[in-house]
Symmetry: C2
Subunit: 470 residues, 2 copies
Amino acid sequence: MTRDDKIAKSLAQAIRASGLQEGMTISFHHHLRDGDRVQNLVLAECARLGLKQLTVNTAAIMACHRPVLEHIREGIVAGIECNYMHPSVGHAISKGVMPGEVIFRSHGGRPAALARGQAKIDVAFIAASATDRAGNCNGQGGPSAFGSIGYAMPDALHARHVIVVSDHLEPYPLTPASIDESRVDAVVLVDSIGDPDKIISGTTRVTRDPVGLLIAQYAAKALQASGLVKEGLSFQTGAGGASLAVARYLGDIMRREGITGSFASGGITGMLVDLFEEGLFRSLLDVQCFDREAVRSMINNEKHREISASTYASPAAGSAVVDHLDMVILGATQVDLTFNVNVHTDSQGLIMGGSGGHSDTAAGARLTVIVAPLLRARLPLIVDRVGTITTPGRDVDLLVTQYGLACHPDRGDLKEKLIEADLPIRDIGDLKAKAESLAGIPARKTAEGRTVARVISRDGELLDRIRAVC
Amino acid sequence: MTRDDKIAKSLAQAIRASGLQEGMTISFHHHLRDGDRVQNLVLAECARLGLKQLTVNTAAIMACHRPVLEHIREGIVAGIECNYMHPSVGHAISKGVMPGEVIFRSHGGRPAALARGQAKIDVAFIAASATDRAGNCNGQGGPSAFGSIGYAMPDALHARHVIVVSDHLEPYPLTPASIDESRVDAVVLVDSIGDPDKIISGTTRVTRDPVGLLIAQYAAKALQASGLVKEGLSFQTGAGGASLAVARYLGDIMRREGITGSFASGGITGMLVDLFEEGLFRSLLDVQCFDREAVRSMINNEKHREISASTYASPAAGSAVVDHLDMVILGATQVDLTFNVNVHTDSQGLIMGGSGGHSDTAAGARLTVIVAPLLRARLPLIVDRVGTITTPGRDVDLLVTQYGLACHPDRGDLKEKLIEADLPIRDIGDLKAKAESLAGIPARKTAEGRTVARVISRDGELLDRIRAVC
């Protein structure tokens, strides 16, 4: 390995050369989603090399990362820091498999913690679908293309040592260099970084569920009534079926009224690409591609711009994309009477998710709309106190359910506009009562075991604790 | 000013809000070259605000920056750190106008010093030809387009406070965001950041001087004889007439032999753009555009890639473009018998230049070729000991003059190949004698005043001192 050619003979050689030691922190990204092979590969190699007590820092633990549980049981992994955790790992954490505590951050809080020195990465392992010998890399080339590599950019900037892991080598200099050679210490070539069928889904579909469509219609009407649907608007929504339906309805309004938006942001789906290519949005700001359409669009269109997690959402940055958002559509598993939202734990208190960009976009956007059915798995959405605070109620403006909409009490101005638009505005307490009349009052369960996870706010403060469920 | 809209009411307001105090360091870039208005504007405003004892850190002090001398005399500026200094400021420094010492670095040494903490910037003033309200900015949009903004990228990364100064506002989000909003604290809009006629020259011309052409022919033949002119080659040259002629001759060889190069790098000229667009190079790696053709090409072609000064040349980076260079063509004002090169001071010892990327590319390239006429202003090029060491002789492989070529003694392998190619190889001492036979032996002048400047190597060590000329 030289400065001209950083290709290591093997993953093991690269790990040894990195100086990785017991107790250190390694990082990954989740752009390969449920098809990722890199995290498991690296942890298995760390196990073979006899490394112990490692902390894994990553934006998201996906279902495919279940092998981490075995590494936890064997003492190879002792800590996890992430912004999202799939239930297939989360349930085991909730049941106490790891002696230490998971640290949950948000997609903006994670790069902020790195910038502030509250989190440290010793060795970053960055899966790239294309690299050159010096480590210029991206997620756009090669057979395992996944699009934006935004969540790994802060790791490349802050980690003490950076190893690019790829299955596709191109001649120097690779273009684009989403992460460039100046940040890279070593390159490891492997047979496959991921299962292409699971890396990205096909085009994500708008819901056909009539409840979801009704909620989306209400939400779109509320956006319009708010007065924010006007020339230059900016918008973000998730990849859920109802959220996509809101995007489609918003597109209909924009088309009808001749409105062009400035940007849509976040995880990008084919639905947003369609609106962008139609000219309804001038730009897409993409920290993550959710489907093939998004990958294709990012490769082909300069105005579909790859952004880092820091640029997306970091409160420690000079500013971030979320600070410019007019409207964001978000989901919820629980909402409480003060509008706190939970997307971390289920009704039993088991870990099944995490903020991702939920709390970041809610804090940044002028109008934060939560869309969710009033009943989830036959349990009321609205509770007295959420099991876990993901996003504080002060950052939520509006809850939309199929039985009506509830405005945050600080948003009397919004409430008036929505009433004027003939939307069914309800008190959040009344919505709660409605749900309970349909589903009964659930027996309240409170997890009372030791702390298994801490939820850290995007500003670096303790927001909540998640306790063991025995 | 908010996180959404960082536009300050005035430059004065932005300076006050930055917390700039007496004794602090402010930074600039020189991409606007001799048309830059921003550095003078900011220093004048600092003077009006009563700020004192500031240090100016910039990649280059150009002729248009002469007003800095008045600020030095008045105590507003007390220090300069740069990689190049035009004689119109340099001569005054040599004559002792500034009580403190100039710190000279190289284009790679500057970002390395920032990364290592050896240099600090309190407030960076970044001239941008286009910005949006959040500070996403570039040098490609607007009427004052200058192309790559690569030298300012490390400033944006490392400065405590970053102010973008522009004369062209575009709607959010600006694309491309060569420097993105996450690094920017404030935006100042001014009438004009520069004089477009002086920002970039028209197409830079190949020399017509027969001596320059002969040197270029020798150099091109030497490149070919070295064995490095083969598929995938990489190449850098400056914007001087003889250097451009080498590029043209190299292009002829590549065309004739069906060779495609991987990249050309550095300051990019229309000459290199022509070779690139013809398909003789697959990529251009551009830290600075020297002419309009380069600006146009960078805007239009993804493979003409903007790079930061760190990615260009920093020895503190994981690697840099200079580490991949096969061949570089560089100039010299003096060369000594151990192949040390001086481009800092003239024959009288007066400051008239600086390394720029000279020492960086010489250190990185497999073959470093110095092209220079044996006589400069009727004085011999070759001396016993250069007035100032810009690039240590160990990083130089070959000197090419119109009277013959001299190989560094460590490059016996190269010497053999050049002799085999019938090139007129001479001992460097013989070339020195030849020059002296033509021009006489100059009276040796040694500046013996106090130190007015320190030359710091790219690795952060003291390389030489420049003394006052009284």
